[in-house]
Amino acid sequence: MLNRSTLKKAGKKWVEKDIISPKQLEQILNLYPKREPRLLLTIFSILLISIGFLTFIFSDWAQVPQFSRVLLMVLFMVTLYVAGHILYEKEQKILGITLLLLGFVAFGANLLLAINIYSIILFNAWPFVLWSIVSLFLFMIYEHRWIFFTGIAVTTIGQINSFILYDSFNYFLIAILLLGFTHFAYHRKEQLYCYLVTISFVLQAVFFINVYEQSYYWLLFYYMLLYIIGYILKGTHFSVSIRRIALISTFILGMFQSFVLHDVYLFSEEIEYNILFFTVWMIAFTGITLLKISQNNYEDLAPIILYLPVFYLPFASIFSLLVLFTFSLTYIMIGYTKDNYSKVFYGSIAFLLSTLTAYVQYAWDTLNKSLFFIIGGIILLAMSLVIERQRRILRGESGDVR
């Protein structure tokens, strides 16, 4: 979507050149909503007050196990909730949601407080499970995007907490994500929800393989599954976000992989032939390839290069870099032939990152450190100039305002 202020600037030129009348400009501008600066302030105020709650819980006043103090905190939480609800019903939406969210944070803080002062012994992340469930219900009632965002954040942080403190993967949290939040993301047709759900899934997969001590390359399979789901859902609003996030995470994984393969012992990884991985990988990979071929979707074969299990090959580190480069270059090429600006742009960024990865790997050990940074900077500068030039050429061709 175009930015309102850039459109306004460009629109003035169009008016001067008599392409459109000032009135038409006004009408066009009205199509683009104004961003309210007040919103940002509200979000910051929520953040600050929440941090305030959470730190207050650990203050001296709150650390004494007295029932009256818990009761006071609970009363405070209820007041926030009820005030938020009433305001929301009176069409004071933003203020209402703010107070509701603060009530939600107060609930989490109260949970923490009770656990802390009564030294409740925890062996898994159940407080986070409860907190996530509450956020899901809150979202069901109000269907507000801030609540969705907060809910996803709490669920994901809960999984991180489960990993760090209990070295376990919490299946309730992933279920809340996959059954609860995904359901709403799918049915409410909001891009933002789809992105949030997918990002949370991608992160939780990382904790999953760590808990079960699977090798890093299992992520390749999980992300491929994600990509396939995105591909099958093609035509729905969910598809773009899933495939985009799946590809971005696989690309980042690919960069990481090339470091791992460069020095396997440093990362204490054992690349062993795993028949289970190879079988499931084979099924998924053949499936998606055949599906694309049967739909005559040849240019779309490019992204699946990223999912090749290069770690089985000799000189795997070089092949892993090759995969990254091939992916970036095909993206750029497809973008040029199809006049697709965004493909060229993303392809160039991918190319830049691949170059950097290769550079860091091969130059860090051999080059003098200051030379390393200087040459790295020059490469970056040159690349950015190239990208900028392409951008201008494309912009000139399409006459688009960006």
Binding site: V74, V82, Y118, F123, L130, M140, L165
Partner: protein, 168 residues
């Protein structure tokens, strides 16, 4: 409908928090008492800030011969520790397993713990027992004799510190 759901949700949260707080006070009536030693390698006079003393319990350290787990387990994994009362009425570790254990009689209790690490044949676990104790608890305690902590343990697994005293 929306109103109803909202008030139900808030009520649910309130009830939950009150249960969490309330169970602490119920431990007194339903719990059973057990005593464990404080780690005697430390002098508890100077540890902690002005108001609290940080303590370690003797049962957190388990010698090799009582560690009943054959396989290698990873850090933060759950283990079950069997304690048995000694002649002085204080509980000490007799067995550790990676599966649920059942107490043989009232002389034994099972505590759930997290394995942390091991070092030259000694295994360290974490029970989540209160380790920051207000100074008031230590007023009548002689630091040069063995110190024991009395806990009350509820059937639902929560544990509450009752007092700190010297071994009788």
């Amino acid at each position: 409908m929306k109103n109803k759901m909202f008030y139900l949700l808030v009520l649910g949260q309130v009830v939950l928090l009150l249960i969490l707080a309330g169970q602490y006070y119920l431990i007194d009536s339903y719990g059973a008492t057990f005593k464990i030693y404080l780690d005697d390698s430390q002098d508890y006079s100077f540890l902690g800030n002005d108001r609290d003393v940080y303590v370690d319990y003797e049962i957190r350290e388990i010698p090799q011969e009582k560690w009943g787990i054959e396989r290698e387990i990873s850090s933060r994994e759950n283990v079950y520790v069997k304690l048995e009362v000694n002649k002085d009425g204080v509980f000490e570790v007799v067995d550790v397993a990676d599966h649920k254990l059942t107490p043989y009689d009232t002389d034994q209790i099972i505590l759930k713990a997290k394995y942390i690490y091991d070092f030259s044949g000694r295994y360290f676990v974490e029970y989540g027992l209160q380790d920051k104790i207000p100074v008031d608890y230590f007023v009548d305690v002689a630091r040069d004799k063995p110190i024991v902590a009395s806990f009350q343990r509820a059937p639902w697994g929560q544990v509450k510190l009752i007092k700190i005293e010297n071994e009788n």
